[in-house]
């Protein structure tokens, strides 16, 4: 492995100090003169037509400056999904419609002098609804006679894909590689189960926040908590019907995104209110609104069927997926596609069949959520692998190693499908998964614990261990693009302008490290300025785990271009050929004469002395393939068979993210994802009543893990070297959220001999399953 100076070191985050000092860095930390406060009126009904809205009393209330509803805003069909154009999500949403499709759907919005006035004003809006029957169960959404949620004539996809809104059918794709039926015939054992995964909210500590105002030139500035500043600019321009040049989007520091902010959720309304009032407008979601009117992980029903031979050969896999898109389809197709495209290349299997549907229902819409479909598919696949291993009497460690993709291999899935449609052929050029499995198992004490738990202690409390492996392809190949710009300053420091969106992840730091490594300078000499559509070049944004890999490559290329310019000037200064020169410690040194010029001398010469010019460069990178990051997870659980309580005692993750550019930050991503995943597996849960209302829209009732709940998590980074990534780096943001569901389910099975096919594994569900088993 190559030795680096800055890459591979856990340098402190470039923004750590001001963050620790509580500087006003987040979207909501500014107070503008004359700023108005916006509030949105939400639908109390799951499905209804709005016959009339009377806003007379509201408008008459002193302090109210604007009221928006379907009557006075342009009807522009678009998608709220923050994806590259043309978006692979249906155009099925408008700013305000004369129809509501879920409880918590938008009805109207108000801008007023204070939040209190806005709240009061909301109550004065009179809405006449004509109630329509609603459908909540995805398995009934396509039934004959089911209420049609998108009956408007203008909903459509921009790209040629299946779409049948008249039957609530939001997306469909199926594919077969090899011959599934043949594979089944070759199997000694066939296993088949139905699985269900549940809703999940992102629970970013910072809620969706947007402040819009006009600059001195009368252009609209949108300061927003987003993962996708450039998509926000494009989509808001579209909704407001103004050219992009009128809009500047600034992404400040962000308090977590996890996919929830890969969405133009509130920016269009806030911007429209600013346009109407010509005043700054602030719109911030409450925590309750995050639960009722933001986005969630798509719940899915999945049917898995696999064939295995006694010798451990996986002969066939079939996965049938039914995704509950909710009331609108942002990310519905792409998340659905990833249950195959980014999940199934993990497996050594020639015969794979996959059939997937996404349907509209009158529930909160799904959206992007860390894991993006792979999390859902990894659950049935991880459990099926465990069950197959057991059936043929093989240790799961060996069975996983035998049946997962290795370096130098390919999967037919790569070519057959990507998240947007057609895939790209690729060979896995970096993979340390076998080593991850071995080292993870060893550090976890897998063999010893499997042996030990064959004999369970007396009493109600049982113990078990389970494992699962996972993959997550990064980026959307041939679509995702990132770019960077840099210029050199008098003292030899650099401004690095990146479109990439740091969400608290540390992306600014990682990109500064890659830049510093390439030019052999300390990180302090890189002044990062991120995510401002007026100033920084385009970047698709923070999603598909792509920032380190893709934006990192753009930064590396930018630095290399600058390096060339520096060497050219130095060659002229030293009177030596460029080929003899190298960069070292902020200087250029001749390997021949040993002479040396400092960066500060070089830049001064370029700026002031001879053939004056600005040393600067811009570079872009297009993703050509989805780099595969891998992990092997091991969970140890305690199950109280009398109360159903499951406690994770210890958790080990061995992770292949290529080169970890900043190991501390990479570990942070791993631990965060695991915690997020365990909390999802054990306690997080939405409750809806029979009218489609969310019954638990608060942290008091929707329980996420907090510090005292965290089990012992051990992270092992097992490096590999990805030739297409910056200094061998791949991706690390998402992959590890795919482990907890299957690993914990498998561990529960190991403890009590009962499998859980439905999530979450709450005490109540576990107790019920144990009682059912006891009853047979």
């Amino acid at each position: 492995m190559r030795e680096f100076k800055v890459v591979g070191k856990s340098v402190p985050k470039v923004d750590a100090f001001p963050l620790a000092l509580g500087k006003p860095l987040f979207a909501d930390d500014i107070e503008l003169k004359g700023m108005l406060h916006a509030k949105i009126l939400w639908s109390p009904h799951a499905h209804a037509r709005i016959k009339n809205i009377d806003t007379g009393k509201t408008e008459a209330l002193p302090g109210v400056h604007a009221v928006l509803c379907y009557k006075n805003v342009p009807r522009v069909v678009h998608t709220s999904a923050g994806q590259s154009w043309p978006e692979p999500s249906p155009y099925d949403i408008v700013m305000f419609d004369n129809k509501v499709r879920h409880v918590g759907d938008r009805v109207a919005a108000i801008a007023a002098e204070t939040e209190e006035i806005a709240e009061k004003a909301l109550k004065l809006i009179k809405v006449e609804y004509e109630l329509l029957p609603a459908v909540f169960d995805p398995e009934q959404a396509m039934d004959e006679g089911a209420p049609v949620i998108h009956d408007e004539p203008d909903c459509k996809y921009l790209i040629p894909v299946f779409y049948d809104p008249k039957h609530n059918h939001c997306a469909h794709i199926d594919l077969e590689v090899g011959d599934f039926e043949q594979g089944m015939k070759e199997a000694d054992f066939v296993i088949e189960h139905k699985f269900k995964t549940h809703h999940e909210q992102h629970c970013s500590i910072e809620p969706h926040t947007c402040i819009c105002y006009f600059d001195h030139a009368g252009r609209l500035v949108i300061r927003t908590s987003t993962q996708v500043p450039f998509h926000v600019r494009r989509i808001v321009a579209q909704c407001l019907q103004v050219p992009e040049r009128m809009i500047r989007v600034i992404k400040p520091r962000i308090g977590g995104g996890f996919g929830g902010k890969q969405e133009v959720l509130i920016d269009d309304v806030c911007a429209m209110l600013a346009m109407r009032t010509k005043r700054p407008v602030r719109l911030v979601y409450t925590r309750e609104e995050e639960f009722t009117s933001a986005r969630v992980r798509h719940p899915m029903v999945m049917w898995a069927k696999t064939g295995v031979r006694k010798d451990g050969t996986l002969t066939a896999i079939q996965l049938r997926v039914l995704s509950n898109a909710g009331a609108y389809g942002p990310h519905a197709m792409t998340v659905m596609n990833n249950t195959c495209a980014k999940a199934l290349p993990l497996f050594h299997c020639e015969n794979i069949k996959w059939i997937a549907d996404a349907v509209y229902t009158n529930l909160i819409p799904g959206g992007a959520y860390r894991g993006y479909g792979v999390t859902q598919a990894a659950f049935p696949m991880g459990v099926m692998m465990d069950e197959m291993a057991e059936t043929i009497g093989m240790d799961p460690v060996n069975f996983w190693k035998m049946n997962t993709i290795k370096k130098g291999e390919t999967s037919p899935i790569f070519k057959a499908l990507s998240e947007t449609g057609k895939g790209v052929e690729m060979i896995v050029e970096s993979c340390s998964l076998p080593e991850c499995i071995d080292r993870g198992a060893e550090i976890f004490g897998w063999r010893e614990k499997r042996e030990r738990f064959k004999n369970q202690p007396e009493g109600p409390v049982k113990y078990g261990v389970g494992m699962s492996c996972m993959v997550q392809g990064g980026t959307v190949p041939l679509i995702d693009m990132a770019s960077a710009f840099a210029k050199m300053n008098d003292d030899g420091s650099f401004n690095l302008l990146i479109g990439a969106a740091d969400l608290g992840t540390g992306a600014d730091t990682v990109l500064a490290q890659i830049f510093a490594e390439t030019l052999d300078i300390p990180v302090e000499d890189v002044i990062v300025y991120p995510s401002d559509t007026d100033i920084t070049p385009f970047d698709k944004g923070a999603y598909a785990s792509g920032t380190t890999y893709l934006s990192g490559m753009a930064v590396l290329k930018t630095a290399e271009k600058i390096k060339e310019q520096i060497l050219n000037v130095a060659a002229d200064m030293l009177g030596e050929p460029k080929e003899d020169l190298r960069i070292e410690n902020k200087a250029v040194i001749s390997s021949k004469s040993g002479k040396r010029v400092e960066f500060s001398q070089i830049v001064k010469r370029a700026l002031y002395i001879k053939d004056q010019f600005q040393i600067a460069a811009i570079a872009s990178e297009l993703s050509r393939l989805p780099p595969q990051s891998f992990a092997a997870h091991f969970a140890e659980v305690e199950v109280d068979t009398e109360t159903g309580q499951v406690k994770v005692l210890s958790y080990v993750a061995a992770v292949d993210c290529g080169t970890a550019v900043n190991p501390k930050l990479a570990e942070g991503q791993v631990e965060g994802a695991i915690l997020n995943g365990i909390s999802y597996a054990l306690t997080e849960e939405f409750f809806f009543d029979d009218k489609g209302r969310v019954l638990n829209p608060s942290f008091g009732d929707y329980k996420i893990f907090s510090a005292p709940d965290i089990p012992k998590i051990t992270t092992i980074l097992v490096p590999s070297y990805e030739p297409t990534g910056p200094y061998g780096a791949k991706t690390v943001g998402e992959v590890n959220i795919n482990g907890p569901l299957p690993a914990i389910s498998n561990a529960i099975y190991n403890a009590v001999g009962t499998r859980l096919y439905d999530t979450p594994f709450t005490s109540e569900r576990v107790l019920n399953v144990l009682k059912e088993k006891g009853a047979d």
């Binding site: 209190e116 009398e642 109360t643 329980k703 893990f705 510090a707 005490s763």
Partner: protein, 294 residues
């Protein structure tokens, strides 16, 4: 919203009483605010006047006094949890206090607030009832004592008049031969109780059960439930596992969990109550025998 109200910080109890006598109906007392502020933000409570109790020195103390304990109303859970006296002599209160919320909440939350908020899932009340605690209530017409179980009259309803406040909680020292236990189930460490159980077993010299308290909370009725059946079944008997198991089953029949709870179904609460009551009784019995609680 929190705007339209007047805020007061009296320094004596008599100031509070005078104020309440005048404005009691429009006033909310605030201690740690961990319940009240949540309700106010949600608009569930809209007081005209807010009277802070935290600046009144006579309300915050833990004092041992004549075979018992007096805990001032604004004593925080953290103070209870960290009191050596309580940990050694009233371990049930220590266990209940520690099972409550997170450290951040326990730093703010008070025993008086926990009692007066009268949530059926509150953690300290079952422990106090198991120790036959009394509330010392003060108001315009003087002071009165009320056994804690009579203090709770419904979901978030108490026997307090609008001009009254709780001044202290009096806890009798558990008689010799006592053992206690507190058990709680929640979805996460910071969750309210899906179910909580406080138990005291007091044994005669001959090993028979002299007195027992089994108190179940966690939304199993409009208030916590002190099981009379348990007392009838166990007092005077030699406690052994089969009898304890039978008692736990009987206790579960006294519970009436609401079907609308987010935390768990009535079925789950009933099933688990049998488990927790049994475990708590066994644990308390073991401690009584070992003389752990003196």
């Amino acid at each position: 919203m929190l705007n339209d109200l007047e805020y007061f910080e009296p320094e004596t109890i008599s100031d509070v009483i005078t104020f309440l006598a005048k404005h009691g109906k429009d006033t909310k007392l605030i201690a740690g605010g961990t319940d009240l502020l949540v309700d106010m933000k949600k608009g569930k409570v809209k007081p005209k006047y807010l009277v802070n109790l935290m600046k009144i020195p006579e309300l915050s103390h833990i004092i041992e006094d004549g075979g018992g304990l007096r805990i001032g109303a604004t004593t925080t859970f953290r103070e209870i949890e960290e009191s050596k006296l309580i940990k050694e002599k009233y371990p049930l209160l220590f266990e209940a206090a520690r099972a409550m919320g997170t450290v951040q909440i326990r730093n703010m939350a008070t025993i008086g607030g926990n009692i007066c908020n009268a949530l059926p899932s509150a953690d300290i009340p079952p422990a106090l009832v198991a120790l036959d605690a009394k509330a010392k209530i003060v108001g315009q017409s003087g002071e009165r004592f009320l056994p804690l179980e009579e203090f709770f009259v419904g979901i978030r309803k108490t026997a307090l008049e609008s001009d009254e406040l709780i001044r202290e909680v009096h806890v009798k020292s558990p008689p010799a031969g006592s053992g206690t236990a507190f058990l709680k189930i929640g979805r996460t460490a910071s969750d309210l109780a899906t179910l909580n159980v406080a138990v005291r077993v007091t044994l005669e010299n001959n090993g028979a059960c002299k007195e027992v308290r089994v108190v179940v909370g966690g939304g199993v009725g409009p208030t916590l439930i002190r099981s009379k059946r348990a007392e009838t079944l166990l007092e005077g008997k030699i406690l052994e596992e089969p009898l304890i198991e039978k008692t736990a089953r009987e206790v579960s029949k006294e519970l009436k969990p609401r079907p609308t709870s987010i935390r768990a179904s009535p079925f789950y609460k009933i099933e688990v109550s049998k488990v927790l009551v049994k475990r708590a009784l066994m644990k308390a019995l073991g401690r009584a025998k070992a003389g752990e609680d003196r």
